[in-house]
Amino acid sequence: MYTFSSKLKTFSFILMAVGLLGIGYGFLTAPKDIQEVENLLAADSHGGHGEVQHEVSNSSHKENEVAAEHKETTDAKEATEHKEHLTHVLHQLQNKPWAALYVACIFFLLISMGVLAFYAIQQVAQAGWSPVLFRVMQGITAYLPVGSVLFFIFLVLCGLHFNHLFIWLDPEVVAHDKIIQTKSGYLNFPFWIVRAAIFLFGWNLYRYYSRKNCLAQDEATDNNLYKKNFKISAGFLVFFIVSESIMSWDWIMSIDPHWFSTLFGWYVFASFFVSGITMITMVTLYLKSRGYLEHVNTSHIHDLAKFMFGISVFWTYLWFSQFMLIWYANIPEEVTYFITRIQLYNLPFFGAVVMNFLFPILILINTDFKRITWVLVMAGIVILLGHYIDFFNMIMPGTVGDRWFIGISEIASVLFFLGLFIYVVFTALTKAPLLPKRNPFIEESKHFHY
């Protein structure tokens, strides 16, 4: 049995406390009205980005006006335009703490989903190497119920207009937007929240029964519960791939409701799947270093590292396929998505590729390196940070635009959810023995060597 070390517990509480303070600070310092934004813009930009754009649009406007010789209306138009600009910036700045919270919230929720998907695949594939890691995976997925509740509350808050993350939730916006109007059969709050509820419920249901059966199997005299787990895992995987795809449209793609991409679901999946596998590796390495996983040897670690490597490449393949197809065809309604990201998010956009592809492929290609703890921890940290950046890139441009910054709000949100994650996961690990007793493949798994 694992005992939650008091140091780690304190550490997780500190993370949560610091995170909460930072999140609170982010919300308190967000501007309340246009007046504040005006002061802010005047203070921080002397011909800054926003101003320049504004002036450019004004001057082009002016030329039109001069041609029409309507001098007196120009002033009025300029004033309303200025006001529109300020409102726009206000919304972006008000979104910032919300979006920071959202990215961290969905990131940790989906990490535990990635682990759950990996776990289900291992069950269905009847993998002979992984049963010694099942309890670790179950421990990590213990975050799922907690994360689901927090995430669901967040979605409800969006629906109650506490923020402007999803512009299609704003009836004011929809009323003036033909494109969103045509999508409102799908993108409307009741349908959206019911879908979210069904997905979260379905995933948690699988997690609950799978773990329950696995624990009961320890005390059983036959393999019935194992077979039952096999069946529900297969069923879950079918449900998962459908719900995952829809989830990615609902929770991430609908941030940019004017844009769509068909392989988006796979892309999001690859991102959190590799993060989940990386998280399994990290937790396993931690528990192993504390002497809790007697039967886990370097071959198990090696296998996990191969998965980290392979799925990192898979993520890159999808990233590039999505980017290259849109870049190549350059259709205006699709390409704006990437233009925003390349112009305003250049470093995070390409930095994510370096962190999620270039670094892991060069480090994890070596067989010997895949067995060295510190190499894997280093690669794992880079991969996890890289995929946080990936989610950041998916969500921030549609919510805060050029007002992005990885500052107190963003870091604090990650710290809070990281603390919560550590607390929940390691608490769950203390609840059951770390080695399943009567799994049909447990002997093979104990002696696995590669």
């Binding site: 590039f320 980017f323 290259m324 870049w327 190549y328 350059n330 290609i365 067989t367």
Partner: protein, 174 residues
Amino acid sequence: MSNKVIYAIYNDDDILMDAVKKTRAAHHHIEEVFTPFPVHGLDKAMGLAPTRLAICAFIYGLLGLSFGTWMMNYIMIQDWPQDIGGKPSFSYIENMPAFVPIMFEETVFFAAHLMVITFYMRSKLWPFKQAENPDVRTTDNHFLMEVAINDNEEELVSFFKNTGAVEVKVIEKQ
């Protein structure tokens, strides 16, 4: 000095593995082992050095990547930078995404083919090569260990008889 060797023949890979370990422990030099299929762990038991073929492949891959990059840069950017369907050909990086499929395939192509050719050269395999079977049964169901004799024929023969060999032959080579 005569060039005598012992052919110890086995009909089970477990017995072979055992025999290899015993032979190594007795410090008899194993010239070669012939098996009809890969025996897992045989190289470790024989103490063979690990292969460096993967390192070769990595280097060949880098070579292929460089070749693909150089080729596309020379043809599409340096030599004749045409406007083809509005694609920017002012610098390599601007048109890079269009070259990635080629760079990728060149990498894989070079890595795979050069590695295979390296393998053939290092293992001395080619179409009209004389087969080096010491005993035709080794391609079907027998395992053969070849050990050199240095004036200790009697001792070696009895040693191999004790390792579970179904047949021990002394052969004069060439």
